[in-house]
């Protein structure tokens, strides 16, 4: 330890490193490439991870869609091929029987699934747009970014069946003039006048998302289109710690019970599990992180072994020098420590250069992919991983240095100095 803090030790080591520039360079290149690959790969994996995260930040991770289809099995006296219709009252039962549900939003729509889209007019302008009947809870599952001054549908809207709507960016562009303030303005949906209370930004994430849709309160919707208690589909978000696949199964089982469908009838209730799809995507980036860890560690290991190898040769080359040092009064531990510190210095030097260049490369990739469609954001390597890899290199550098150091010590000075 004392030797480590001694300035002379370092002078000795840098002299011997400098003496053989080619050897030093070749030795370091292995570790350098190892850490460079590791930093580059894991940074890229992190960037991809961040990219996905950003891409899907508007949608709850554990969400799913559940809708009804026709039965494929006869059950309880009903014949096969019966159309199931989800009802608003299913909500209470679902929530009661599936405590894992964080939010549940029944939705209705015109413009998708066959029904004609609503005809929207405003003055002389008109167009066909999908119209959704929604509950405020929907924003808990898929956040809608509402432009300044606007809002989404709230509980009062539902209660009082207000004729208010939230429109998409494109709807605004097509129905309003550029300098017109849409909030507070009126549009006519299938013959009924609605006041615009918000404009939402297109986020893109979930299916059926659009920049030209119109949201109105669920209660207003059912009056407008006479749908009663019917629900087109449920958008459901489970709590973060819940197993989405299991929750999905439970919800479908509950719905089968409510609608008296054969428990084995897989086709009566349809669903799309966004959470599962997310898990697959994030699993991919996790896998990439793991892979980069393995590749990086293996390459670092190979590089460090290379250092040990070259130091072993260098010890053989320096047999005479080490013998002279021993004759001059260098103790075996001084010789051993010198070789180990040399190994350590070479490893660390290579590692630090690798980290710096790796970080620079990541920065470059980041600025090249900036603003593109590629899901790649802020590729950084977490500090603990960098520190961890440095620690790994210290440990490996010392361990591998032990081999040539032991070899150096085992040479007896008399053999080293023997005249040929």
């Amino acid at each position: 330890m004392k030797q480590l803090l001694d300035r002379d030790t370092w002078i000795e080591i840098f002299q011997s490193i400098r003496k053989n520039k080619l050897r030093t360079f070749l030795t370091m290149i292995g570790v350098f490439i190892g850490i460079y690959i590791y930093i580059g790969l894991s940074g890229a994996a992190k960037g991809l991870d961040n990219g996905f995260e950003k891409e899907f930040e508007s949608v709850a991770r554990n969400s799913m869609f559940v809708w009804a289809q026709t039965t494929s099995m006869p059950y309880s006296g009903f014949k096969t091929g019966r159309q199931i219709q989800l009802k608003l009252r299913d909500v209470e039962v679902l929530k009661k029987q599936n405590p894992e549900i964080m939010a549940l939003a029944p939705r209705n729509v015109r413009g998708i699934f066959g029904a004609d889209p609503g005809l929207i007019t405003r003055g002389l302008k008109s167009g066909n747009y999908s119209v959704f009947g929604d509950f405020p809870d929907f924003t808990k599952i898929a956040t809608k970014r509402i432009y300044d001054g606007g809002r989404f549908i709230n509980d009062d809207d539902i209660e009082q069946e207000r004729k208010v709507c939230v429109i998409g960016e494109r709807t605004q562009k097509e129905l309003f003039d550029e300098d017109e303030e849409p909030i507070g303005g009126y549009i006519v949906i299938d013959g009924v006048s609605f006041q615009v209370v918000g404009v939402h930004k297109f986020a893109g994430g979930g299916p059926f998302d659009n920049d030209s849709d119109i949201f109105i309160p669920f209660t207003t919707y059912r009056k407008l289109y006479n749908t009663g208690d019917d629900v087109s589909w449920f958008t459901i978000a489970a709590y973060d710690d819940a197993d989405v696949v299991k929750v999905e199964e439970n919800i479908k089982a509950t719905l089968r019970r409510i609608h008296r469908v054969d428990p084995k009838d897989e086709r009566a209730i349809g669903s799309f599990n966004l959470g599962e799809a997310f898990n697959r995507i994030f699993g991919f980036s996790r896998g990439l992180t793991f892979l980069s860890l393995i590749v990086g560690v293996a390459t670092i290991l190979a590089g460090v072994i290379g250092i040990g190898n070259i130091l072993l040769i260098s010890v053989k080359e320096r047999t005479k020098e080490l013998g002279v040092r021993r004759a001059m009064g260098a103790t075996p531990s001084e010789v051993r420590n010198q070789i180990i510190i040399e190994s350590l210095v070479l490893t660390m030097l290579a590692g630090i250069i690798g980290i710096i260049l790796g970080a620079a490369t990541l920065k470059m990739i980041d600025s090249l992919t900036q603003g593109g469609d590629f899901p790649y954001t802020n590729p950084t390597v977490p500090i603990p991983l960098v520190v961890g890899s440095l620690l790994l290199m210290i440990v490996l550098g010392i361990l591998i240095g032990l081999i040539p150091a032991q070899r150096a010590v085992s040479i007896r000075p008399i053999d080293a100095l023997r005249e040929e």
Partner: protein, 234 residues
């Protein structure tokens, strides 16, 4: 200064054992300049290695400056070498990437002498061997005689009790050899004990005492009239 009693040493060569030193008795007073002579295979290098603690004896006593030298581990041997002994080799054995000054300072480094003091001392010894102007030169830039003088300065820098020189002139022409011997004689004049292994008669006669080894025993041990090397150096 040096006391050796009934020293034996043999080397194992496969199944055979080669008895190299067969009972050496030898004493050396403070300030002596002794030449150890003998043909190759006579055991003179083995004796020097044992004296230099580079090798251990099989049996017998070795007392150096009142300290019995036996059962040394490598660390202890290194410390004793550093404290008691200076080495001069036939092939100089300077460290080729260190300049003359750094080479001379090396034993001081292992004596834990501070940096500044080390530099001063090393420069002082370089001056004494007449190579002060060559302090920053690498060994590859020095002639053979200069290299050996740097090596002698290095051996002296640690202020050892005994200077051991193994064929110090073996790789030098006779003119340079005499210059080196002149230096060795001057160091001896200052009261340092020096042992020189050589097989050259003229070099041996520049010492004060000649010990002849043959087949592992001392066959002759005589004090002689010293020939000053100065007279050969202009």
């Amino acid at each position: 200064m040096i006391e050796i009693k009934d020293l034996h040493k043999s080397y194992k060569m496969g199944s055979n054992s080669l008895h190299v030193l067969k009972g050496i008795n030898f004493t050396c007073e403070d300030g002596e300049l002794v030449a150890i002579m003998g043909s190759s295979g006579s055991g003179k290098s083995t004796l020097l290695n044992i004296l230099g603690m580079l090798d251990g004896a099989d049996s017998g006593e070795y007392i150096l400056d009142g300290v019995p030298i036996k059962d040394l581990n490598e660390t202890k041997a290194a410390q004793y070498r550093n404290k008691f002994l200076g080495f001069v080799f036939q092939s100089f054995n300077l460290i080729n990437y260190k300049n003359a000054l750094e080479n001379v300072a090396l034993p001081l480094y292992y004596q834990r002498v501070g940096r500044k003091e080390r530099q001063e001392k090393a420069l002082n010894y370089l001056e004494r061997v007449g190579l002060k102007e060559w302090a920053t030169h690498l060994p590859s830039e020095l002639s053979g005689g200069q290299k050996q003088r740097v090596a002698i300065a290095r051996a002296m820098a640690a202020e050892p009790k005994v200077l051991l020189a193994d064929e110090p002139t073996g790789a030098l022409d006779s003119k340079t050899s005499y210059e080196v011997m002149d230096l060795i004689q001057k160091i001896n004049d200052e009261g340092n004990t020096i042992l020189v292994v050589t097989h050259e008669e003229d070099i041996a006669h520049m010492c004060k005492r000649i010990v002849h080894l043959r087949d592992g025993v001392i066959v002759e041990d005589k004090k002689i009239e010293q020939v000053r090397a100065e007279s050969y150096v202009q």
